[in-house]
């Protein structure tokens, strides 16, 4: 028996707008209209403002732990732009707020969530988004299920699910990839490889050269893209979305990006990563890059930037006001959403706010004394 190669695979890297503002005309021409690029840039700046303000809210004790999104906006926005709002689904983790807003999540919901208020998860009707997902890696299976439901009912919906580099180590990631592929579900797995999972660097997370190549083992295409390049992300996601919608099944995309902030406000990245590394990535900030592009193409100037910065501040100030203006939830809320039909035990607990039996039924007080006297 001869030895022979039974499988060979290649993984592509895509970049259209590089960090110096250089643009690959062949790949990027007419990909996104000028008007749209400007609108997406404006959204990016507004989301960055929200992110910075959220950080400050936490620092001043007005909000709980918050995971900053900064630096990863192009991956979120490029992906969201490739999907049809109201038709397709977004199944997020927690570092793609910009995508959620584009698909209809009110901005103050994100603040509410991190302010410890479940109403931040009460997704408005018609908005096809699942709530932020705290247990890492678990939601990609939901995404695969949602996608398969679309296929079963022939609805033409595509699902995009976001997750980090760390999440690819969880068993659920592998199960989601396998299910999606076995059932040819219309889904795009969007791995935001931001180089870190809290303090664990990408090299310690996997011995694979890329995350994209993990697709190959599951029988789906895997592509690596510069995650700080809005055009590149949009292009590869759009291709994957179109393929999924046409019955071509799932894809994995690795967006190579960087977490410019700490893991969350509870973290201090200086404990484990070099300033030099951070500095190098600060120069690759998707915001800087996109602005360069706009300026090169005479779509933007300093005056417009000043106006946008002001506008973003006003929008975010309003969002914070809305979130902070909402009255505290009623204690009853704690009980009311546990089941469609509350069991008696929970109803009693709700109505008495007690678990102890005498507290739930104070008529028992004095029973023993009465009996002794009788």
């Amino acid at each position: 028996m001869p030895r022979r190669t039974v499988y060979e695979a290649k993984v592509e890297f895509v970049q259209i707008l590089d960090e110096d503002g250089g643009f690959d005309e062949k790949l990027g021409k007419d990909l996104i209209s000028d008007e749209q690029v400007v609108a997406l840039y404006e959204h990016m700046v507004t989301c960055r403002e929200l992110d910075e303000i959220a950080f400050k809210l936490q620092r001043s004790g007005r909000m709980g732990t918050f995971p900053q999104n900064k630096g990863q906006e192009a991956a979120a926005i490029g992906t969201a732009h490739a999907l049809i709002k109201g038709t397709d689904w977004l199944v997020p983790c927690y570092r793609e707020n910009a995508a959620l807003f584009m698909h209809g999540l009110p901005m103050h919901y994100i603040l509410l969530h991190w302010m410890g208020d479940e109403r931040g998860n009460e997704i408005p009707p018609g908005v096809n988004i699942t709530p932020l997902c705290i247990p890492i890696g678990t939601h990609m299976l939901h995404a695969a299920g949602i996608a398969y439901a679309s296929k079963l009912r022939n609805e033409g919906r595509v699902v995009a699910t976001f997750f980090g580099d760390g999440a690819t180590s969880e068993g659920d990631f592998h199960e989601a990839m396998n299910f999606a592929s076995v059932f040819q579900a219309p889904i795009v797995f969007l791995c935001q490889n931001n180089q870190w999972a809290i303090s664990v660097p990408r090299e310690s997370q996997t011995a694979s050269e890329t995350f994209a190549q993990k697709a190959i083992a599951y029988g789906m295409p895997g592509t690596q893209v510069d995650g700080n390049d809005l055009f590149g992300v949009y292009k590869v996601v759009k291709e994957a979305v179109d393929r999924a919608r046409d019955g071509g099944g799932p894809s994995l995309i690795e967006a190579v990006t960087y977490r410019l902030g700490d893991h969350t406000t509870a973290d201090d990245a200086r404990r484990y990563r070099d300033q030099a590394e951070l500095d190098a990535w600060l120069a690759k900030d998707p915001l800087i890059r996109l602005r360069k592009y706009l300026e090169t193409n005479d779509l933007w100037d300093d005056q417009m930037q000043t106006e946008l910065d002001e506008k973003a501040k006003v929008i975010v100030r309003e969002v914070v006001k809305t979130a902070e203006g909402i009255e505290s939830p009623a204690t009853e809320d704690l009980f009311n959403y546990t089941f469609a039909n509350l069991p008696d035990g929970i109803i009693t607990q709700r109505d008495t706010l007690r678990t102890a039996s005498i507290g739930q039924n104070p008529a028992q007080i004095g029973l023993r004394t009465q009996r002794q006297n009788a």
């Binding site: 410890g116 247990p135 809320d333 704690l334 007080i365």
Partner: protein
Amino acid sequence: MANLTLVQSINLALAQEMEADDSIVLLGEDIGINGGVFRVTDGLQKRFGNDRVIDTPLAESGIMGFSVGLAMAGMKPIPEIQFEGFLGPAYDQLVNHAARFRTRTRGALTVPLTVRVPVGGGIHAPELHSDSPEAIYAHHPGLKVVMPATPYDAKGLLISAIRDPDPVVFFEPKRVYRSFREEVPEDEYTIEIGKAKVVSEGTDLTVVTWGASLFQCLEALDELPEDISVELIDLRSIYPFDAEAIIESVRKTGRCVVVHEAPLTAGFGAEISSQIQEHCFLYLEAPVQRVAGFDTVMPYYKLELDYLPEAPRIKSAIEECMAY
């Protein structure tokens, strides 16, 4: 003696045991250079090296199953699960493997591991960072479960857990991590797993609790009228647990209030209440009262203090039990 927080006393116990026994390895997410998200393992990687303090990939089933293998091969792994809410993926390995190897192999293969898990609410944490699943693990034969509430107990119990020949789930109440300091002996000492501690003696009513609720109970006791004499028991070990200490106390007082953060129904208070009913029936002056979390999903933090058994709710239960 040093004046230590819970975090520091656990760190000290880990360091001393690692010094004494080179088969001990720590493994978990962010426990190395970062020292754990609560800094419990701070400095240990630097001191004992990357081979003994291992930052793993992000996978709890991996951490637990890998630890089971290490343990069967003669190591003493101390895995950390970053928060109790992420025990989910580790559950299968812990319950279906760690807990059962001794039985399945009639003692030929054993799993002497200690899994450390921050537990409980009250720190304004995000979702799934505030639960109290101790009863779930106590319900699984083959696992020991402990939850110290003080720095002193934490050191002694952790050393016992590490030296125990069987798997121990070591819950660390995060609300207590830095809430106070106490004197902790520098020398190594053990506290027997399965032994409760009488925190204060009394004659009218017994309060049984564990974990961070101990401090809510102390607060409630402070608020009580002088003429109610309460015996306060910190259970410390959930399984095996000190039924004897409880029975002895309730036979004396005739009344008992059990306090825990976990939901009421099928919480460990139910087991305690049942033991009291079986062993103290004719001594009882009032039905055993349970002050617990509600039978709901642990809410986001805006409502967490409404959910948790805080001091006022405990105080009411004690007074009502007295007035029955």
